[in-house]
Amino acid sequence: MKSWKKIWMEELDRSVPTLDKATKDMPIAVGAQTNVNRDGTAVKSKKPMITALATVTAVLLLGIILTCVLVFKPTEAIRYAFAIEINPAVTLTTDEHGNVTAIVSANSDADVVLSDEEAASQIGKPIAQVAVWYADRAAMLGFMDLTEKGSAVRISSCNGSESILQDAQTSLQDYFVQKGIFAVVVSESVDIKELSQRCGISADSASALANAISRSATLFNDRLAQAAASAEALQALYKQNVLSSTLAEAIKDCLSSNIANIERNAAELKELLRLYFDILTHKDNPALIL
């Protein structure tokens, strides 16, 4: 009598489809990889810090324009950074014309939105258009309640282009009006420290922030996995974040799977736990409200 595993394998052999010809023949984007040396080994680089922002019932859209002059080459384009924090949240960079150059997710829910095939095609489009696409996609996937009244949208800038800021604000406002969503779009200016916190990326200058965003892995869970590999990175991650359930689970997983190491590093564990409870009881933690 066949074992259930053998039966299962035969069943899968019959059921699993063959690879689609279009996918099979599609050329691979060689050269796009920035994290591999020529011999195929990984490039060792600093892992960027990320922010996982807790979800709230009211929609908060935050766009932050950052003017950043990159001094690598005299002809380097001015780069802007945006953080859009709808539930889910993303961070973007743009060039001097306000065209998006990179999008990264700021929490695991955003991974779902950015896994969409259209996400990659947003690169190169104006930030105003991409913000509307993102808001629409998040709504379509059920992350935004379009019937919610009293939603607030905030767009902030830091030494940024006022015209790009205004375009994004106007486009979002028009989108919400079209959809019949009660949302107020407000703009404000912030300093680099506040900007870094809102983007969830540690940086002490505008150029460093834009670079860090551009070099971040697109998906939140990829960055979380990378950060969880070292206690130092995880600790720093905590310092940057308002605790979300995803992050709490990741840290619990990390703690429970390294009991032996934790016993050897009791002091480190104590500090982690202290940070954990600091964040749990932080005044900005929406979990306290909900």
Binding site: V16, I28, S115, G142, D253
Partner: protein
């Protein structure tokens, strides 16, 4: 199939080797299919999602970091696509008058169906990760954040339940 083998294939794919991509498909198709099916519970949707997974692997291969967890990277892509599909279906509104009622293609009653019926989500996940993805119980325990003993006993229980379900279906 282990992480080193998957990692080597992903690195080769990143260099533009389409043969490596074809080999990756052959080595991982059962695991990806079963993983997706455990979320979607529907053959048609799983079939579509599978193509999307491998398309996503090809288009995002530049984002894979060598010497990290290749299996987890692929599974994360699959999970995101499955969740995307589930959320999209939740939001879809359909006019009943426009719907053609037809019998959907579905898997014939077999091990996959028995797993959906007899096992809960965690149990299915453990069986798929162990049998199809080659994860050891210890690795699954680390991934799911529980003791190895728990995973071992859950796996044994799951296999027992599965065998009983298959016996009832007379397979």
């Amino acid at each position: 199939m282990n992480d080193k083998q998957i990692d080597k294939l992903l690195v080769d794919i990143a260099r533009g080797d389409n043969d490596a991509f074809a080999e990756l498909y052959e080595r991982t198709k059962h695991g990806v299919f079963s993983f997706l099916y455990s979320y979607l519970n529907n053959y048609e949707d799983t079939e579509d999602a599978m193509q999307n997974v491998y398309l996503k692997i090809k288009t995002n291969i530049g984002k894979y970091t060598p010497d990290t967890n290749g299996r987890a990277w692929i599974l994360q892509i699959a999970k995101n696509i499955a969740l995307n599909e589930i959320y999209a279906k939740k939001r879809a509104t359909v006019n009943i008058d426009d719907v053609d009622i037809k019998v959907r293609d579905s898997l014939p009653m077999g091990v996959s169906q028995a797993m959906q019926a007899a096992l809960d989500e965690d149990e299915r996940r453990i069986v798929i990760l162990h049998v199809l993805w080659g994860y050891k119980h210890r690795e699954i325990a680390q991934r799911l954040g529980c003791p190895t003993g728990t995973i071992t006993s859950k796996y044994k229980r799951s296999v027992q339940k599965l065998k009983e379900a298959l016996k009832e279906a007379e397979l």
